[in-house]
């Protein structure tokens, strides 16, 4: 994993845990293989939308501006932001 992707993954982890904290959930370790939905992470689709908004606010990037791009794992999302 590149240094940029690692930094983005760290940022994703921070934002995910901020959202979880707002919901009263315990912090979790986020890795590149962490699945956002339908896995053990207590995350729903609106949490994911909130994460995307937060990431845009921090990075100034919107990888979805030109259309939806498929991702399921934290590492895949980091790669999308690195690609913008």
């Amino acid at each position: 994993m590149s240094e940029q992707n690692a930094a983005l993954l760290t940022l994703i982890g921070q934002e995910v845990n901020r959202i979880l904290a707002d919901k009263g959930e315990a912090p979790v370790a986020i890795s590149a293989d962490t699945v956002f939905l339908d896995g053990p992470l207590p995350f729903d689709s609106l949490d994911l939308a909130t994460l995307i908004v937060a990431l845009e606010g921090v990075t100034g990037k919107d990888p979805f501006r030109s259309g939806f791009r498929q991702f399921t794992k934290a590492g895949e999302l980091a790669a999308l932001y690195a690609d913008v």
Partner: protein, 242 residues
């Protein structure tokens, strides 16, 4: 702390009545229109920082985005959004130019979806809570000769209301429609005297509605008392649809 509500199309007609009533009720209001008009300047003078106006055309995506961003920068993340901006184009569909159909859809439907999307992103980032009210129309429910494309956009708004209510309800954001009947505003000025008489005859309450008949429902839906009401269309039509 006064709650901030964004109202699109607030320079005249129902939109202006909504803006005025919200200010009187203690809300801070951001509104937009293609031109400032005659009624907003004195309101801006009287209400100072509680009222923000921005020139915008809701039929234009970049202009709409600029308004929403400016409103949030000025008065903060909104508690509520009232999608009021709309246009009407009368004409038999077979001869209505496609460019007019596109304009109707862009302003009445796409523009409202865009504002809802932009405001929802902010509401979600804040942790939830909020109100979205779409001003649809009885025309979207019952139809009216010469208003097929307009009716489609207003029915679309009601569909948006129901779907979005399901989508964001778990974040305590409610989404409802208010569907006025035939109102005595500039937009109904194109009705002929015969059409107006026919509408009045068919209305159990025996008159056209006014903006003052509609605004109280909007104030109610914005308030804490309406926290458990979502996905609904409240028709305010003097009974013509019953």
């Amino acid at each position: 702390m006064k709650r901030h509500v964004i109202v699109t199309g607030g320079s005249r007609g129902l939109g202006l009545a909504i803006v005025t009533s919200l200010l009187d009720a203690g809300y801070r209001v951001s509104t937009c229109s293609r031109s400032l008009g005659d009624a907003l300047p004195p309101l801006l003078e009287a209400h100072g920082d509680d009222l923000f106006w921005h020139q915008a055309d809701i039929g234009d995506a970049a202009s709409t985005e600029g308004f929403i961003q400016a409103a949030i920068a000025k008065l903060g993340v909104p508690w509520g959004l009232i999608n009021n901006a709309g246009i009407a184009r009368e004409g038999i569909l077979a001869t209505l130019p496609l460019v007019e159909v596109d304009r109707l859809i862009q302003t009445n439907l796409t523009g409202s979806i865009q504002t809802a999307r932009a405001v929802l992103r902010q509401m979600l980032a804040r942790g939830g809570g909020g109100r979205i009210i779409n001003i649809s129309s009885i025309i979207g429910q019952r139809g009216y000769t010469g208003l097929a494309a307009y009716a489609a956009t207003k029915a679309g708004l009601d569909g948006l209301t129901r779907a979005l209510a399901r989508e964001v309800g778990r974040r305590r954001i409610t989404v409802n429609s208010v569907a006025p009947g035939y109102l005595d505003t500039e937009m109904s000025g194109t009705l002929s005297a015969g059409q107006r008489d026919q509408i009045v005859r068919r209305t159990p309450l025996g008159r056209l509605g006014t903006a003052a008949d509609v605004v109280p429902a909007i104030l109610f839906l914005l308030g804490d008392g309406a926290a458990f009401i979502t996905g609904q269309t409240l028709t305010i039509d003097g009974g013509i649809g019953c």
